[in-house]
């Protein structure tokens, strides 16, 4: 049998399983066939785990317990989420062959719900990059135009969902790594509030910024996945004890009276005018539906990139000290002593972008630079948070573009790290402030999707979803399909 995920959302797949129109084994098999059919062009997966997936599918069929919406449904995981006994590398050479001895909390929650992970998706090495091109293993293509980047760092997860290989996937977002690839591939990607989802088992990049979140084709699907992965976890001391609401509770299509703020800085220098026009049209649509829209100012926005790259690289340089060739993964040959083993393993095991960030972080934390860089950035972070607090005193959501441009060509930007960093300007402030942020498709420029970013108050993903759903249902953009959809 075959299954076309463009014709079936999570609810429709769930109903088919409940009614025994399809079995979980058939669905899993069909998903693996979809991947086999298209991954030579997309290159979204680093590896699939068909044996484990089919074994789990068989168990689900035997139990026939579909009380959880996600039971029996296939998904893909970004390769920085630990899976017990299944190779997980963070797309780095230094972790080649590494098999974690435990599941990330999100993985065990999904597995308990009955969802079936079929493979690990490509990403920038240790989630460092915006195009998935820093992966040690392969380059992933954009689902809409295979000569373009899929965005990053969760580019494999985004391309797999947008390309119809899989109905949903998880990614991680430290400075935009869920929202920007969602924008580049025309799908829905949410970075939850910091603390909403446990980070246990996510390979740490910047611990005060990282969050795990879902990629889906529709807003409702996204909310359904968050329902399962959210919540307090003993194993992550920064996860929140707040109650987890039903994230689908305000998916009514109604935004009457919703107060929307549009920061003028999000349409400033460096934003492609065609992207700006598309996003403004989307905002006008929300206004037409009864929301009030006002221009506001987030005056410290332009300092976000500098503050972020100092804080992120500092935390990352510390977190990545653990990769030393002793306990797991790659170890360099021909070493003279232990010190030599550390240096050779790290120098041969890490790619250039990872080295660049380790260097920046080590510098920012070093004696003489700490106050001028790390501490200064932490103070700017406070000012960015205060900017948001002021706006959220009067508004429900903040909207703007997700990225300054549409997807660019493979190989076009990768040699200019400064330009790559500056492109994160619109997503970074959300991580620094720990807010929930989502990208939904706002339309197309030259055949490539444009992202509408919706930012909410802390722990108010419900209103973010409400806004995104209303726009999505009015625009029906999710009905547009990339050419690859014809392959199923």
């Amino acid at each position: 049998m075959t299954i076309n995920f463009f014709d079936n959302d999570l609810t429709s797949l769930h109903e088919k399983l409940v009614n025994k129109d399809i079995s979980t084994v058939d669905l899993t098999q069909a998903t693996l066939e979809n991947i086999a059919k298209t991954d030579s062009e997309l290159q979204a997966f680093i590896r699939t785990n068909s044996d484990e997936a089919l074994l789990q599918a068989k168990k689900i069929d035997e139990q026939h317990d579909f009380s959880n919406m996600l039971s029996g449904l296939p998904l893909a995981l970004k390769d920085n989420l630990a899976t017990n006994g299944i190779e997980t590398t963070g797309a780095s050479h230094i972790l080649e062959g590494f098999k974690p001895v435990y599941d990330a909390t999100v993985v065990s929650k999904l597995s308990t719900a009955g969802a079936i992970s079929v493979g690990k998706t490509n990403m920038d090495e240790f989630a460092m990059g915006g195009s998935t091109e820093t992966s040690y293993y392969k380059k992933t293509a954009n689902a809409w135009d295979h000569t373009k980047v899929p965005g990053g760092s969760s580019g494999g997860s985004a391309a797999a969902v947008a390309g119809g290989q899989i109905p949903f996937a998880l990614g991680s977002d430290t400075g935009g790594s869920i929202r920007q690839p969602a924008a580049f591939n025309g799908i829905v990607g949410l970075k939850p509030t910091y603390g909403r989802v446990s980070r246990w088992g996510l390979f740490a990049m910047a611990s005060s910024l990282d969050q795990i979140g879902p990629f889906t084709r529709t807003v409702k699907d996204n909310a359904l996945v968050l329902n399962t992965i959210a919540g307090f976890d003993e194993k992550d001391s920064t996860s929140s004890k707040r109650d987890v609401p039903d994230f689908t509770s305000k998916l009514t299509g109604d935004v009457k009276g919703l107060k929307i703020a549009v920061p003028k800085e999000y349409f400033g220098e460096g934003i492609d005018p065609k992207v700006a026009t598309t996003v403004k049209a989307a905002i006008a649509q929300l206004e037409l539906m009864g929301a009030t829209v006002d221009e506001v100012s987030l005056p410290h926005t332009k300092y976000g990139v500098a503050a972020y790259y100092i804080i992120m690289s500092s935390e990352a340089s510390s977190n990545l000290q653990r990769y030393d060739g002793v306990r797991y993964g790659f170890r360099a040959d021909d070493v003279k002593n232990l010190e030599d083993l550390y240096i050779k393993t790290r120098s041969e095991g890490f790619g250039d972008e990872v080295k660049r960030r380790i260097m920046l972080g080590t510098f920012s934390l070093s004696a003489g630079a700490y106050d001028a860089f790390f501490k200064k950035a932490a103070k700017i972070r406070t000012l960015l948070i205060e900017d948001f607090n002021k706006v959220f005193a009067d508004y429900d959501v903040i909207v703007g573009p997700t990225a300054p441009t549409v997807a660019y060509g493979l190989g076009e930007e990768i040699d200019d790290p400064t330009a790559m960093y500056l492109a994160d300007v619109l997503t970074i402030p959300v991580n620094l402030a720990g807010l929930p942020g989502m990208s939904v498709n706002a339309g197309f420029v030259d055949g490539l999707p444009v992202g509408l970013q919706i930012i909410g108050k802390p722990f108010d993903e419900v209103t973010v979803y409400q806004t995104g759903y209303a726009f999505e249902q009015a625009s029906r953009l999710f009905e547009q399909r990339p050419n690859i959809a014809k392959k199923y």
Binding site: K99, S208, S240, R327, I343, K344, M359, L360, K376
Partner: protein, 102 residues
């Protein structure tokens, strides 16, 4: 405000702190790239942050404590399987000092 610049020898010093080694060509390339990025960092100097408290985390939690009891510790064999080199139930590494053998 003064512009931060970084020299090749400073880059080599930082690489040493980070346990990374670069050949001369890489050192030149990294020095140029880091210098460009530091120019972006320097823009923070435009902002007056006198009296502003730094934010290091946005978590609402103060701390999370649990009873100090061993939990889930029977994993020695599974963990050893990941070690690049193993001997006598231990992870094997080269000598700390030159000439000591293993």
């Amino acid at each position: 405000m003064s512009e931060t610049t970084i020299s090749k020898s400073e880059v080599a010093h930082v690489a040493n702190l980070a346990k990374l080694a670069f050949d001369d060509a890489e050192l030149v390339q990294f020095t140029t790239q880091l210098d460009n990025i530091l120019n972006i960092f320097d823009t923070l100097g435009e902002v007056n942050t006198d009296g502003v408290a730094p934010t290091y985390s946005v978590t609402e939690n103060v701390n999370h404590l649990r009873e100090d009891v061993a939990d889930n510790w029977h994993q020695k064999q599974a963990l050893l399987k990941n070690a690049p080199l193993e001997a006598a139930d231990l992870i094997k590494v080269p000598a700390i000092l030159d000439g000591e053998g293993e």
